[in-house]
Amino acid sequence: MGGNGQVEQFKTYELNRGLRFNEKLLIITRKHWFVLVPPLMAILGGGFLFSALIVLLNIYVPFLQNSSLPFTSILLLLAFISSLIIKMVVDWYFHIYIVTTRKILEVCHTPLAASCVNEVLLDKVRCTEVDVNVNGIINEFIDIGDVILTFDRPTHQEEFMLENIKNPRNVGLFLSDVLDQGQRTLTPPVWFKQKDKFEGGGNGHRFRFIDDITPKYQAGGLL
């Protein structure tokens, strides 16, 4: 599986430091590098347009012709564009998804701006769906897509999205195997909340015990 290969690739990153006893790294991945291409093209295009404007001003405005102003403004523009590009690459580099046997993490760090850690503890939730989305001809061609994990929490449903990752189908299959295995070892919940107001005799959104629905025991012995 590609996930194990990715773990090998990231072995030097010492992410194992944060792992608990018996917890193993399964996947560490980040968004595909191709997501950088559209904003990069936009930045370069904008820079080119500004440069062309400066050159045109230099040609058509007479008092600028013998000055250093166009040269210095293009240099400043280059410095600005290079800053934007580096910022974009560093932000992409520090946005990673980590899957271990115990949790799923999304770590994103934007220096000087923001940082976030989204964590789902797999032993506290029940994964109900693993969806894989690959949209568009380019994404299909270079194998980029989203893996969406839907967790059913006692109070609400929550989605965890691994966006624009490489090999989404393999990762999706791998995750569904891992989560399925993990859930077999979990104990089932002892209660649930009705979603439908009129379900169960119109008692409203009441909490009910699982044994009321699927009784294991009846008076007189095991079913």
């Binding site: 030097t12 990153y13 010492e14 992410l15 430091r17 008092f63 000055s67 250093s68 102003l69 040269f71 210095t72 403004s73 240099l75 400043l76 280059l78 410095a79 600005f80 290079s82 800053s83 580096i86 910022k87 690459v89 560093v90 580099y93 520090f94 990673i96 770590v107 760090h109 220096p111 000087l112 940082s115």
Partner: protein, 67 residues
């Protein structure tokens, strides 16, 4: 009039370049800190690009002052 215009643009460009240099320097320091904190080392090329990014506005300032 022309002299004033060039002087104002020079001051404006130098101010912008200084701001950019300070921002890039802080960004570089924060990126280094983040790489240590997260345990994800920055690749050689990215590190060098960050350094170039810090130096570039200072070169622009020098050129503006010289020219």
């Amino acid at each position: 009039m022309k002299e004033i215009f060039f002087m104002v643009t020079d001051i404006l460009f130098i101010t912008l370049a200084v701001l950019l240099a300070v921002y890039n320097l802080l960004y570089f320091i924060q990126a280094k800190k983040a790489s240590v904190k997260l345990g994800i080392p920055l690749p050689f090329l990215l590190r060098k690009m960050l350094v170039v990014n810090v130096v570039l506005p200072f070169i622009v300032i020098l050129i503006i002052l010289i020219v």
